[in-house]
């Protein structure tokens, strides 16, 4: 049996050193983007966006890459609350943050990690998603409170979840959801698979889902208008390209795209 006692001190030293490094970690900045003489940018842009923006932003990303050859857009779609955590606590190297509500954008703002100030670039409404054919016969928010109706909501930490709660409270409906999903797309999946009778999602989600779900509109007086905010981040590795992407989102083309995916444009 070989003698490995000599390894122990080595391991301990290595662990102590690395732990110390972790405690005092700082984010690093990467290579700056270059601006070509004709105004087009290049570089890699990392965009953190709420899950409901998946389809619209993916298209916008492709358009951006086409308009700016030399750029690559990488997306991270998840619940806005998760993204906020990733940016603030984990020091994720994002260039752009698009949040589905003010709260999560504020989280990043309070951590002083925003560069360009957050701007509202789209709005969204809530809509009830049901299975094609609406077998449960859902017509209003009140129907969601019926006995025997299985309703799925996004978890309270997720913007869509919070909005849904607001809308239900305002309408005076008591709902006991069967599940609280980690992002709004998961809510949609449960409905489209037929496991839940209804789920509250965004209008844009229903537009993106095409035939897999049907939508039941929520009247404006009961609805919650979700404001989507976008901002560039202070430690963005590709600051130029980040700003350019935000511009693209806010441009006429960008707004048209968002509109096509069911978002309301300001």
């Amino acid at each position: 049996m070989t003698d490995v006692t000599g390894m122990r001190p080595l391991v301990l030293v290595a662990l102590v050193v690395l732990t110390a490094c972790a405690a005092g970690a700082e984010t690093t900045t990467g290579d700056p983007t270059t601006a070509a003489s004709d105004g087009a940018v290049s570089g890699d842009v990392t965009v953190f966006a709420g899950a409901s923006l998946t389809d619209a932003f993916t298209e916008l990303g492709t358009a951006f890459e086409d308009a700016n050859p030399g750029t690559t857009v990488t997306f991270n779609f998840a619940g806005s609350q998760q993204l906020a955590t990733q940016i603030t606590t984990d020091g994720a190297p994002a260039d752009v943050f698009a949040s589905a509500n003010q709260t999560q954008m504020d989280v990043v703002g309070e951590a002083a990690l925003l560069a360009g100030g957050p701007v509202v670039f789209a709005r969204n409404r809530l809509e009830i998603s049901v299975e094609p054919g609406n077998p449960a016969g859902i017509a209003t928010l009140d129907d969601l409170g019926r006995d025997g109706i299985g309703v799925v909501l996004a978890a309270d930490e997720v913007p869509a979840g919070r909005y849904a709660r607001e809308a239900l409270d305002a309408a005076g409906v008591t709902v006991r959801p069967v599940s609280l999903e980690t992002d709004v797309r998961a809510v949609l999946t449960k409905v489209s698979l037929g496991e839940a009778d209804a789920g509250i999602v965004y209008t844009s989600d229903i537009a993106a889902a095409e035939d897999t779900v049907e939508g039941v509109a929520i009247p404006d007086e009961d609805n919650v208008i979700a404001a989507y905010l976008i901002a560039t981040l202070r430690d963005a590795p590709s600051a130029e390209a980040a700003r350019a992407f935000v511009e693209t989102v806010r441009s006429e083309k960008g707004q048209e795209t968002l509109d096509a995916y069911g978002f309301d444009t300001p």
């Binding site: 070989t2 390894m7 959801p177 069967v178 599940s179 609280l180 496991e195």
Partner: protein, 267 residues
Amino acid sequence: MTRGQESTAAGIPAGVRALGVAAIVFLTLPLIGLALRTPWDQVSTLLTEPLVLRALRLSLVASLASLALASVLGVPLAWLLARTDFPGRRLVRALAVLPMVLPPVVGGVALLLALGRRGLFGQVLFAATGWALPFTTPGVIVAETFVAMPFLVVTVEAGLRALDPRFEEAAATLGASRWTVLRTVTLPLIAPSLTAGMALCWARALGEFGATITFAGNLPGRTQTMPLAVYLELESNPAAAYLLSILLLVVSIAVLVGMRDRYLGSP
């Protein structure tokens, strides 16, 4: 000979030693990080929080129920795989082990398609009783059993293979019925494997996330097990999340240490 390849007096080449140290660091650093961040001073208050208590209780109940179900189904399966030879045995063993290598979320989706309200078999149940597994605690148990049972099956099968079948023959010649042989000879003699298998199975069930959230959903008190609570509370209640994480970690380590390497192979 380069310096890195020089044999030390103890016989390990220095390069190998360095890599081994790096591996140890790689594996232990996350655990140390977690331990350092856990709010130890708040433990008692956190433990009484309803969120934490519900998750703890549900995890315990569901994982133990999964263990029971996995044992009832898995031991006979292991017996069949180890002791009988039937056509398609290799395929059956591959299927029995499949959940081990399947990404848990994929497992969850598969369970939905089979046992969900609109699933292949689930719809029969739903049509007959109006009840379905998703979003229920039994659904959690099914998801956990699905991913954890292979651990039990594989370990017990190895134990059975290592057991000299002649002991069972001897017991039969003494007049013991097959059931008595199983009870008084086979199971006691594979007890180490059985225990190891059950411990692994339970630990896996306890830590299951992907299949649970996909198949059973997430609802505090009913389907929100500890791993789900960690995931969801990470942003809003990190202290609780860290505590639950460290609890899961401690349990896992206790199980592995308690098994004393038996999970590495047959006893």
